[in-house]
Symmetry: C2
Subunit: 213 residues, 2 copies
């Protein structure tokens, strides 16, 4: 099957658009313009239209895109309706939060395993999700055909954990540790640095201040 490769930044923005559409649907809004979407994402309306055109011609009315139509289109093209077996590595505060996250489940990410190098933690955490020691990552990922791995480990454990996931045949890694995981052949990686996100807002606000004064 021939498909056009969608560039990563476009996928990122399409997923952000999807998030906005979810909110609009909750607020019973029927239509949204590229100008409004652009304003919410801090990019111009032209880029929004270009991104959306990547997933084919969905048409638009005077008031903009139909919220429900655009959402269904994104679900189809980005395969958001496909359930993906997911696991969490590292059961500290962040990992434990994600373990029982309802929105994750609703979004199709069934957490089917949790891992930690600390056996005590595995034995004491209250959850319905099966928990395993970290040295079983590769085996369990392979056996359970887990596709997405979420890293919530300390930075010094991130690279080793990622290697174990890759050895088990993982398809995508979301890394919430401050270490940087490099993508390898056939595995998508997203490094999400929480402190980095705060740094971006700080830099933006400093530059805004300077430009205004």
């Amino acid at each position: 099957m021939m498909t056009t490769k969608i560039p990563t930044p476009t996928i990122e923005r399409l997923c952000s658009i999807y998030h906005i559409l979810e909110q609009l649907e909750e607020n019973k809004t029927d239509a949204v313009s590229s100008v409004e979407l652009g304003k919410q994402l801090g990019i111009n309306a032209n880029s929004i239209r270009k991104d959306i055109s990547f997933i084919g011609d969905i048409g638009n009315c005077r008031a903009g895109y139909s919220v429900s139509k655009l959402k269904s289109h994104l679900i189809e093209k980005l395969k958001l309706n496909r359930k993906k077996a997911t696991c969490i590595i590292g059961l500290g505060k962040l990992g434990a939060t994600l373990l029982n996250n309802e929105r994750l489940l609703e979004s199709g990410f069934g957490i089917i395993a949790g891992f930690d190098s600390n056996i005590n933690k595995i034995e004491t955490i209250q959850t319905k999700v099966p928990l395993y020691p970290a040295n079983e990552i590769t085996m369990i990922v392979k056996r359970e055909k887990i596709e997405i791995g979420i890293l919530a480990v300390p930075p010094q454990a991130a690279v080793e954990s990622a290697k174990r996931l890759v050895a088990g045949g993982i398809r995508g890694i979301v890394n919430f540790s401050s270490a940087i995981i490099k993508p390898t052949q056939g595995v998508c990686v997203r490094n999400v640095d929480l402190v980095g996100e705060i740094r971006i807002v700080s830099a933006m606000s400093m530059i805004l201040k300077e430009t205004v004064s």
Copy 2:
């Protein structure tokens, strides 16, 4: 003072570059090329060079940019060395993790207040950071001249919390809730949706699979 406005996506990428430089410095790497930086960020080398050119001519050697020089340049231009009083709204698992985060402190974000609508939580959480009830947000932000607010509240409390921060004169908001906060005049907002980040990796891995097969 005249300054060129740096576009938001450029600031985002410059902050990501800063994060990579921190790691390279830890690994005692002296120089890095735009090709290598691009590879790590999933964008092309040309965009990297264009982004870096926004902060002025920093020169580069045969091996690429000097890690330490580029890092100092970013610190200066993005004002990363300026300490910023920061507060956290919502002291659930994520908020409590951030409350005592050493990397935040090292990065210049001194957490000087925490807020929660649950008085019990304020009285029981163990921390050196002063904690207050959520209805004092505006007053404390004003009094302590807090510049950055981190939202770790449930989505239904996000908009109200953001309004209180803005009323207190906040300059930047990092929103980790799943609600979307719209930027207002003079206030930078960054909506970081953790589930959305996982969705991006999932979409990327699905599209990669389809392109390969």
